[in-house]
Amino acid sequence: MALSAAVAQAGDYGLAPFETAPGVYTFWGEQADLLPSNGGNIANAGFIVGAKSVLVIDAGPTRRYAEQMLDAIRATTDRPIIAVVVTHHHQDHSFGIPVFVEHGLDVIMHPGAAAMLVRDGDILLNFVTELVGAAWTDGTTIGAPTHPITEATSIDLGDRDVDVEIFEGGHTPGDLVVYDGATKTLFAGDLVFNGRVPTVPHGDVQTWRGQLVTLDKWDWRRLIPGHGPLVADRTVLDGMSDYLAFLEARVACSYRMGDSPAETLMAEVPDAYTGLFGIDREYQRAVLQLFRKYDETAPPPCP
C-alpha cells in the first residue's frame, strides 16, 4: 500500500499494525488532542496472534475505527479473532465495542468500567462528536461487555496463554491490563501514560501509585502504554508516580490552607512536568476536580 503524506479522509484512520514483539501488534494512536484531523485516534490499541487465535486489546474510539481495525487485523493474520479486552471505559478505548459484539466476539471488560460507560457514555459521545466531527463518529453507539470479569483470567491462544489482570480504583473503577508471557509484553492501558499527563478524574491517586509499583515489579520487557510511545525504561512509571504525588500534595495542602482553586492555580507547575503533553489542560482540570472531591471527602494530609 502506497501511503502518501496526504491528510487522511475523514472517516479513514489509515490504521497500520506494528509488530512490537513476535506476534504482538500495536496500533499507535497520535499524541494529540481529539481533533477533526485524527478522528479521536489518540490511544494505543493492539492484538496478539497465537497459534490458534487472536486477542484484541481495546476497541478504539469509534465504530469506524473498530471496523477498520478488524480489517487491518484480518489483513495481517487469517487466524480467528476470539475476543477483545477493553482496558477501561474511556471513549478512546471503548466506543468500538458494538462492532465486536455484532461480529459475535467476546467483549471482556470490568463491570465497574461497564457501569461508568452506561453512566457517561452518551455525554462522552456527544463531546467527542463535537470535537472530531460526525464524519468520524457516525454510527457509533455505546456498547456493553459480553464478559464482565472481576478476577484475573488467562486466555489460551494456542501456543501462548495471555493473562488479563485487574486493577480497581486507581485510574478508573475497573482497569484491565494484558500480559503476554511469551514475549514479556504488557498492554498497560491507561494505567501508564508515556509523555502525556495522566487523567485523574475517575480515580484515586494513591491507589494508582500503588498499582504503578505493582506493575514496576512485573517481569515485562516492553510495555505498551494507553497513550504515548513504547515504554522500555521503568523510570517512566516513576515519573508518572511523581507527578501524581505532586498533584495530590499540591491540592491537598492548598485545600487545607483554605485556598480557592483560583489561588492554587496561580502557582507554576514544576519544570519536570511542563513538557508532558496536555499539561496545561489536564493540570487545571485535575486541580478543580480534586477540589470538588475534597468538598465531599476530606483531603489526605499535607505531606
Binding site: D33, L34, L35, I42, A43, H90, Q91, D92, D122, I123, L124, F127, V128, L131, D190, T199, P201, H202, G226, H227, Y255, R256, M257, G258, S260, P261, A262, E263, L265, M266, A267, E268, V269, T274, G278, I279, D280, R281, E282, Y283, Q284, R285, L288, F291, R292, D295, E296
Partner: protein, 262 residues
Amino acid sequence: MFFRLIACSALMAAGFATFAPAGAAGQATDPFDSPVWRDILEMEFDGAEVVYDQSIYLVVPDQVEEAFSVPVVMNFAHTPYTVAEIALFAENNPFPIVARIYPQRGFKAVGFDIRLERSTPVRAAIMDGDGVWHVVQKQVLVMTPGGCSAPDGAAGGAAMGKIAMRQFVRTNGGSRLKVRIGHPMHTGLVVDDAGDAIPAQYIERLSVRDEFGGLASMVLWASVAANPVFMFDLPETQQSVRVTAEDTDGTAFILDGKPSAM
C-alpha cells in the same frame, strides 16, 4: 484520556492578574473598549462615575477548560477605600451580571464559582463610600465553550439544599469561611437527554451572618456555578454562622451552625 480536549498551546499558569499598587492611577475609559460593556454600564450603573484601576486583586484563571465551574476571588486586602457594594460580570455570558454583593461589614476577600459560556472579560466593579465604581477586569479564554448551556459535569455530587461550612485559620490571624451550597443552579439553557430544556432554577438570594452581626447579602443570577462554594476572608474567627439562601422557585435553605475547622 478523558473527554473535552481541544488544542491549545499556551502554558498553564502563565498569566494571572497581577497586583498593581492600590495607588495606581485609574483611567476613565474601558481598557477593553467593549461595546457590550458600554451597554451594561448604561443598564446597571445608572450614570454613576466609573473608574478603571487596580484597586482590587481579581483572581481567575486566564484560560479555562471547565467553563461550568470557574473559581473567582476578589481580594480587597490592599483596597484603599470602603467597599460599599460589589458587582461581578461575565459580559459575554447570556446573563452578563453574575452577582451583586452588599457587604455589611468589612471583609478582605470574597470568592465563588461561576459559569462562562464563552471567552469573555470578567469584571469586578466595586463601589466606594462616595458612590464611585472601581472596575477591574481580566480577559478569560474559554477553551471549551458552553459553561451555561452544555450539560454540567459538576451538577451531581451534593444533595439539593445541603449547606456545609468550613473555617480555615489563616496565617494573618484572620479566618476564611467557606460555605458550600448543594444546588444544581439550572440556567434554563441546558437541554436534557429527552431534548427538553431544563427550567431555570438557581439561588437568587444568599445572606450570611455570624455572632458579630450581618456579613453580607448577595443577589445572584444564573451564571453562578452548580454547588457553589462561597468564601469570605474575615478578621475574626466565627463560632456560629447562619446562612440563608432562597432559589428562584421560592425554596429557602437555612443553616445554623459552627463551621468545622479543617
